[in-house]
């Protein structure tokens, strides 16, 4: 598996800050992985994301050491313009990134900035619209849309740039439960169809464990856990770092400790119930 992201001994301290926001951090992510980044608020997640999309060191001052490579190129040595074509970023609140008069214009915005020729722009915008199933709203004004639709438009704008790595910052936190599930399914589908890699910052793991390959947990700027969802959620340490172990997984974890159920994989509510039924029968 090719590596799309390599973070090597990265440390960053904001000017005048007493502590490093990111401290001797190492992480490799392979092409088309879905990786969840978790950890207590203030642990350095947002800073880490900024080192991947280049805002650090290009737009923020501070002490920077180590290296971040995206698709083999060092972020420090790449321009924001080049990075924008490899790394896409979806903010928590889509209103921070959609602002044009029509959905279509909004999706084209990033491409216009790069000076992509019009026929190519047309092709990419249409492709993004069809991938996200938003053809019916392409001529509407973004501010008239529901939050779930706005989220899709913002994601379409990111996809039109054809990034190989997409960073999602708490993408489901403002969405109703059904819309949140649809977004998670969409992430899984885009990975499958386009081979896109996703790094998702998320506290609500109940939705994401179904599709994630790995969970990386940060604390005080350092990486403290890194493994499959099963390994991380079943570890003793997970609770101490504020990892939100989904409630049915908590039940499974406790029953497994007492030897009543296996812990080789994470069971859904229905699976766990049927296992307990069979035991009882």
């Amino acid at each position: 598996m090719d590596k799309i992201l390599e973070i090597e001994e990265l440390s960053f301290r904001y000017p005048e800050a007493a502590k490093k926001a990111v401290d001797s951090f190492n992480l490799d992510i392979g092409e088309s992985e879905i990786v969840v980044l978790a950890g207590p608020s203030g642990c350095g997640k947002s800073t880490l994301l900024r080192t991947i999309n280049g805002l650090i060191p290009h737009m923020y001052n501070g002490d920077y050491s180590g290296d971040v490579r995206v698709a083999g190129s060092s972020v420090r040595a790449s321009s924001m313009r080049d990075l924008a074509q490899i790394v896409g970023f979806l903010f928590q609140n889509p209103e921070n990134q959609i602002f044009m008069f029509t959905v279509e214009r909004d999706i084209a915005f990033g491409l216009e900035n790069l000076g992509v020729p019009r026929p190519e722009m047309r092709r990419r915008v249409d492709e993004a619209i069809s991938l996200l199933g938003i053809g019916n709203i392409s001529q509407r004004a973004p501010h008239e849309l529901s939050d779930g639709q706005k989220q899709r438009v913002a994601l379409a704008g990111v996809l039109a740039m054809r990034p190989r790595l997409i960073i999602l910052d708490e993408p489901t936190s403002l969405l109703d439960p059904k819309t949140a599930m649809e977004l998670v399914d969409l992430v899984a589908r885009l990975r499958k169809e386009l081979g896109t890699t996703f790094v998702v910052v998320e506290h609500r793991l109940d939705l994401l464990v179904r599709v994630a390959d790995r969970i990386v947990v940060m604390d005080a700027g350092a990486k403290v856990l890194d493994g499959t969802p099963r390994d991380v959620l079943f570890s003793e340490a997970a609770d101490g770092y504020g990892v939100a172990v989904p409630s049915v997984t908590q039940v499974q974890k406790m029953l497994a400790r007492d030897g009543l159920v296996a812990d080789g994989k994470i069971y859904s509510a229905k699976e766990l119930a049927s296992i307990m039924e069979r035991r009882g029968a």
């Binding site: 609140n93 059904k178 504020g242 172990v245 509510a269 766990l272």
Partner: protein
């Protein structure tokens, strides 16, 4: 404490955001408002603070019609933490932010100091007391807005999406705070998509859709109605799915994981006991 009498609210652009809302929220109640994006949840709570006034109908807070009083007067009784904390943080330092409303309401200096210390401790913000609120992380800002509101001890506490940006430990503390507020007779209104957070609080649940209330009742009763929840784009809590998938089960769904574990282990023990006899 709060009464909505046939409240309809129509936005300037003609969209009907609330459509004939009649409901009452009493002192000591914890009420969760859930429903799809755009259902009218935030519009509803803005009526309690007087930020919005009904197009028709009336909202009464502690017997006072919100149309006949000022937002400033209402704010002494109703504290609201908005979805986006950036909309309500503006002071030079974290401690001044907490002190701001207290000073405005004319609290004596020694009490201001006590309440500020209390707020900083309760929400784990002591290390930032001299810092600008702007340097805080998203989750920390949310906690600061909560500290600011609780410091002046309003009768009604409204939280709009309080769990965004909060890790599991902070969420547990927040749940503890909500329970504490409920037990001291406050009316707590929580607007949230985070069903897993709401469920263990066992609140009264109000389900909204297209500006109307489609269901209103205790959590164990409403959160087990899968079809109703899905029509409002709400999912059932994981523990409810688990409970419903069991054929032999207790009378009401498990409130938390520990309760589920104890019930299962008791069953296992009696099962083992039974087989030992035969």
């Amino acid at each position: 404490m709060i009464e909505f009498r046939d409240v309809t609210y129509i936005h300037e652009n003609g969209v009907k955001a609330l459509d004939g809302i009649t409901m009452q929220m009493d002192a000591g109640e914890t009420i969760a408002i859930v429903g799809e994006n755009g259902a009218g949840k935030t519009t509803l709570i803005k009526h309690v603070t007087g930020l919005l006034k009904p197009t028709s109908g009336a909202v009464l807070v502690d017997g006072v019609n919100t149309r006949e009083t000022s937002t400033a007067t209402l704010s002494r009784k109703v504290g609201i933490a908005f979805q986006n904390p950036d909309h309500q943080l503006f002071s030079e330092s974290v401690q001044e932010e907490i002190a701001f409303a207290l000073k405005n309401f004319g609290f004596p200096p020694d009490l201001v100091e006590k309440r500020v210390t209390w707020g900083l401790q309760l929400f784990g913000l002591e290390e930032y007391k001299e810092s600008s609120p702007l340097i805080l992380s998203g989750g920390e800002k949310k906690r600061l807005t909560l500290a600011c509101i609780l410091a002046w001890d309003p009768e009604v506490v409204i939280l709009d999406e309080p769990t965004v940006g909060q890790d599991a430990i902070q969420k547990e503390k927040l749940a503890g705070t909500i329970k504490m507020l409920g037990s001291t007779g406050k009316t707590v209104v929580v607007v949230s998509h985070d069903i897993e957070f709401l469920w263990p609080l066992q609140p009264r649940v109000v389900v909204m859709k297209s500006g109307r209330i489609v269901a209103d009742g205790p959590a164990p009763e409403l959160m087990t109605k899968k079809e109703m929840l899905e029509s409002a784009r709400v999912a059932e809590p994981q523990l409810v799915s688990f409970y419903q998938a069991l054929s032999r089960r207790p009378e009401s769904p498990f409130v938390d994981a520990l309760e589920a574990r104890l019930w299962i282990e008791e069953g296992e023990a009696s099962h083992r006991g039974g087989s030992a006899v035969t």
